[in-house]
Amino acid sequence: MSAAAPADERLAPTSLVRRLLGRPELGAVVGAAAVFVFFSFAADSFLRASSLSTVLYSASTIGIMAVPVALLMIGGEFDLSAGVMVTTSALLSSMFSYQMTANVWVGVLVSLLVTLAVGFFNGFLLTRTKLPSFIITLGTFLMLTGLNLGFTKLISGSVSTRSIADMEGFSSARALFASQWNIGSVTLKVTILWWFALVAVATWILLRTRAGNWIFAVGGGADAARATGVPVVKTRIGLYMGVALCAWISGQHILFSFDVVQSGEGVGNEFLYIIAAVIGGCLMTGGYGSAIGSAVGAFIFGMTSNGIVYAQWNPDWFKFFLGAMLLLATLLNAWVRKRAEAK
């Protein structure tokens, strides 16, 4: 083409406003602001620093998992086993350390390997069988739920693990996974750092690396992606292992902050992660979304679930308020995105 040809519109400089409007998490940010303002008026104690740190903690426990789940959804897949995998991971390190009378860190490491193997299993089976991820991970979900209970009962003779708080390595592991800092009346949990770090890393991967391009490409259309040389299998397995890695982090947090794990926990939490990712702008169909969005989604969730308590509303309606707030936030999100795309 000659230099006289009209300039490619993709190369035209875009204004900051336009670029912002094109971001997937914009709707979520507006929704989060709305929820924040709403509870600031509805609940007296919501705006206190100590309250906000509680909200942040609540958001971080969802958010740590929402990050890899969002990446996975951008890649066009689901993981229904994510909730129980967290419990599996916590049970594994606790029981391995206890039964082997090993240093707690050994259990933590074994747990990491096994959890990653579960993630690999999900991804490998998915790419090999070509079955929908719904079926594969539902299978894993049920199997893990059964294994959690079966193994815990078989090994420790009861349905919760034994306390490992008096074992070597516990305090250093607690420092990494469940420590907290008191700044005046505010208590900041280490999970918040883990969460921010994961969001930063995931954002970097998505926007600055080749792997990020692969994730978007696989989610947009696996066949087209394969045709252009994207390693679809590797990308998908990697995404599932990412979920497993974060499930391990969350699992260790639960273990080291509560030191005993109940084998029946975690069921149903996978939906919270998916909800956070969806509110944050991930499309259910894949190919679109962001890690920051998932963090904003988790933050909305944390604000809503705790804001209802701060507002001291009648607890009989707790679930209703929660559902309504989530729906409103998501609708607002969708509306803003549509306006943005129309411009």
Partner: protein, 336 residues
């Protein structure tokens, strides 16, 4: 292929490293070794020479429930002593629970133990059992319906009475404003406990519903509640696993509230002893399982019936720091 083989080699190397570390990195404190050292060998042998009857126990326990595990343990140990073949089934869905009772009837068992969390759903099938001449003992929940449904005896704690005991204890301790933490929305027994406590408590008591299957959210919700209302001076949890969480929430929120709980476990005993917990209300789940089986055996052997048509109460027993030390050993072996 080459890449796969490298992968295998890497995994192998890591596994070897971990196994090596697990051998080298042993903990000299706690763990299974300490437990084994402490535990003397105990073997359950039948104490009687009655025929080997089969008793079935069907409960509404969900998967992985600590409380029901202790009930089951009590039943098992009574069965071992009474030379009973013990069969256990559980499902939190009432329909499935009724199906399990039907299965027991079909197997012509010699006795049935059942919990009536959703009495209506089990009414018909219990009538069938009674018609088939199978003695039934109800445990835990269903004290109101037990006799009407033809059961010999009901063994359990009256939730309302247990709640009332808590209310009285809180008043005695000079508490003014309490929160009742319900970890299972829609559980009638939980509502009754809080209602009972409200009845006898001199101050005010509010309900707080939390997501029982998600511990961090339980902590966050409770933290939020305590931060929202600093005048709260008592927190009552309805299950042992939630007590240490409530203590954490209280510490983070900077609240001065006293934490009390229903049910016991290792952590609760420890916190009672250290004073982090005020008191625990025990309904002695071991006794519920043990007595149910033993009473069925007594009925078969000697036509004995206990309670005279009224429920036999296994609780509430208020446990404080002094008793906790004594109970700790039993809690550790899973029978308290």
């Amino acid at each position: 292929m080459a890449r796969v083989r490298t992968g295998v080699r890497v995994v192998g190397a890591v596994l070897a490293a971990v196994l090596g570390a697990s051998l080298a990195g042993c903990s000299s404190t706690g763990g299974k070794r300490a437990e084994e050292r402490a535990k003397a060998a105990e073997a359950g042998r039948p104490a009687v020479s009655t025929p080997r009857w089969t008793f079935a126990m069907v409960t509404h326990a969900g998967d992985g429930d600590t409380f029901w595990d202790i009930v089951q343990k009590g039943a098992k140990e009574a069965a071992a002593k009474d030379n009973i073949n013990f069969v256990y089934a559980h499902d939190d869905q009432a329909q499935q629970q009724a199906q399990f009772v039907q299965n027991a009837i079909d197997q012509k068992v010699d006795g049935i133990v059942v919990s009536l969390a959703k009495p209506e759903a089990l009414k018909d099938v219990l009538a069938k059992a009674v018609k088939a001449g199978i003695p039934v003992v109800t445990v835990n929940s269903g004290s109101a319906e037990s006799a009407a449904y033809g059961a010999l005896t009901h063994i359990g704690q009256d939730e309302e009475v247990a709640g009332e005991a808590v209310g009285t204890e809180l008043t005695k301790r000079g508490r003014k404003k309490a929160v009742c933490v319900l970890h299972e929305q829609g559980n009638v027994g939980h509502e009754q406990r809080c209602a009972g406590a409200r009845k006898t408590f001199g101050g005010t008591l509010e309900n707080l519903y939390v997501e029982g299957t998600n511990m961090p959210s339980v902590q966050a919700a409770l933290q939020a509640k305590l931060q929202a209302d600093p005048s709260i001076d008592a927190v009552l949890t309805l299950g042992a696993p939630f007590a240490p969480t409530a203590i954490k929430a209280k510490e983070v929120a900077g609240s001065k509230a006293e934490v009390d709980t229903f049910d016991l476990n290792e952590a609760v005993a420890r916190d009672l002893r250290s004073g982090a917990l005020g008191f625990a209300v025990d309904q002695q789940p071991y006794l519920q399982g043990y007595e149910a089986i033993d009473l069925l055996w007594l009925y078969r052997y000697n036509a004995d019936v206990l309670g005279g048509g009224r429920p036999v109460l296994t609780g509430p027993q208020i446990v404080t720091g002094a008793e906790a030390a004594k109970l700790e050993e039993y809690i550790k072996r899973g029978s308290r």
